[in-house]
Subunit: 420 residues, 2 copies
Amino acid sequence: MSPVSDEGLKGIVMAFDFDSVISPRAAAAANKWAGYPPFHFVGGNIDEQTLPVDELAAAVDRVIRREGHSMAKYGLEDGPMGYLPLRQFTAEKLKAYAGMDVSADEVLITTGSLQALDLVNELLLEAGDVVVLEAANYNGTLTRLQRLDVEYIGVELDDGGMRMDHLRDVMSKLAGQGRRPKFIYTIPTIQNPTGTILNRDRRLEMLDVAREFEVPIFEDDCYADLTWDQKRPEAIQALDADNRVLYCGTFSKTIAPALRVGYLVAPWQVMQHVLPLKTDAGSGALEQMVLAEYLPHHFDDHVTELVGILKKKCDAMAEALDENFGAAAEYSPPDGGIYMWVTLPKSVDTRELAVAAARQGVAINPGPEWTVHGEENRHRMRLCFGHPTLENIRDGVAKLADICHQEFGVPRRSGNVERT
Amino acid sequence: MSPVSDEGLKGIVMAFDFDSVISPRAAAAANKWAGYPPFHFVGGNIDEQTLPVDELAAAVDRVIRREGHSMAKYGLEDGPMGYLPLRQFTAEKLKAYAGMDVSADEVLITTGSLQALDLVNELLLEAGDVVVLEAANYNGTLTRLQRLDVEYIGVELDDGGMRMDHLRDVMSKLAGQGRRPKFIYTIPTIQNPTGTILNRDRRLEMLDVAREFEVPIFEDDCYADLTWDQKRPEAIQALDADNRVLYCGTFSKTIAPALRVGYLVAPWQVMQHVLPLKTDAGSGALEQMVLAEYLPHHFDDHVTELVGILKKKCDAMAEALDENFGAAAEYSPPDGGIYMWVTLPKSVDTRELAVAAARQGVAINPGPEWTVHGEENRHRMRLCFGHPTLENIRDGVAKLADICHQEFGVPRRSGNVERT
């Protein structure tokens, strides 16, 4: 790397060995980026064609010419909570869609909702703590808790989301051991990966359980705008009578994942301790400004259009699964969102399937990575349909069925054709 | 917060007490944002009027209409290292300005250079480790190390930056105790807060010391583009023959602090372990895209213009200090950048001065927060001149002198006028 000529050879021979200083906690090394595979059924990406490029361009042009000079300051004029017009829009949106009665002063703009997870985790969790959550869950949440040496206990799901009877069991058992979870983490609206929606009765019951066992709830609502009918139950936060719910959401799933803009809603008792942990000198201003300029005029219409195409993609994936896997692939159609949770026969190990499929250009999420009880879910997988085109979904699922047949003899039949 | 009516009173009375679950490691609570004070001499902000609003607006319009659809994917097309055109420009800039021979594949775009600090710290440091750094230093670095329970040992500075004789002493003493620092952290080009530049000879000597004691160097070059003559010594990274230097920089100080775009340069041996720690699903795409579109055509001219006005502000602050504090304020004119490190008579405690000044609308950084040996530096302060106008600098420094006189009887005289 260095241009110092007469040291060149010595440089290569004597290169400093960073392995001697890298923390033993470091994760496995990354591979160099090789680009996206032809069939990319992983990652929380969304449809490209509906991304409102012209309207965003117009919005950013207006806002940058009007207020761009304020970017000479970290955090703009509005301080560490984020750009005020975006916090105001977020508060209004949460009121209109989720029934939440919050003011802009309770909304912290974060660099994606992932930063909201990190901030809440850092504030509340210590090694050895316990968190209770849905047994099938977002991989990013599970790996975060693993890295913090926090134990998580899974609550079973059915087609209505987290089972409240099992939640009560889990909490009672923990209480019997003298353990109080730091919080219940839940994705109640378009659960990841199951795509379920928790109804109002279960939400109220979750609050009852939380009250009984004196724990807070961390509600991750990052897919909640993507229900097929654009309706949703009131947020748990909205039903909460005693300020025990922390809440996060995002604009990544409705506008653009590559724009890193999420939000955390928390009472000031919590927020005043979150802010000192947000040591990033503010979230990106331009991304906040363009959203604040674009959203008030376009959010509803854009989400309607986006959800329409996502539903078509979901249907295409369901059809492709039926056609290519037949009865070998079981799934409950999701209530919205961008992924499908698929159960294959127990003879299939999706970790091995993922490796074989990757070699042939098909990326999938193996079930064990998205569940608390990994081994029990080795025959499940998550397939994301948000980004690929309808044609790509059809072709990719067909290819995946071929690969699965080659590797595991499953599916045996495809449509009316016996495979050999 | 909740609208549930018949639960309202109970809600208030029974509100969940988050203090029972907040980690004992939590920092002191933040205050609610009260807006910027009239005289804001803190924070790494830059000049508003030179911020190239029209050119950025034109750039963002072009790039978003051309490639905006790619924002439907996390990380765009280019994977976790960041937007390739920006990595390419960064590599070219580092070659042209700092003599660094790096390719785009060794440049990771980060969410501000602060994320580069966090990533390197997380990868290399554990509680109980030691880091060696300049004795006067960036507060954000010191507080990060404190939070990680990492000990830091300060090396004295003179007008030429870190003193190599003292660095050697410190390293020898540590070696005598059987301790090897995890790295030497240095801001060699426009040091924060002293504004000094380490010359080439000292850079080579630092590499010799690092080689002798077998430690890596972490070079933080975030102000390096703001030297008054727009020249600078080759980066330590460029002079390094054996790949022991990690390097970070930023576009916050040259384009806009509120755009959160920095970069980390590291050999792949390190980068492959950094990437799994960057769990933010990519840095903000729009900010990367607009910079990549704007910088190749405008960087040189814009920085020339910016540095011109910063130099005028620096001169204005020097004049205002001379005029209002006279001999009571000592400082070495910085070699570039946006702040001045000022020494007052030992009777002044700048922590108390900062409190009194804040009450009257003047914000300053007390010396103890920017130094390893806080108590010894209680009569020093950092004054930032990047953002305030020339008039605001003159008025604010005059006001600060008044306040300092009221509180400490210093300065005794102002210009030719004896104060009473």
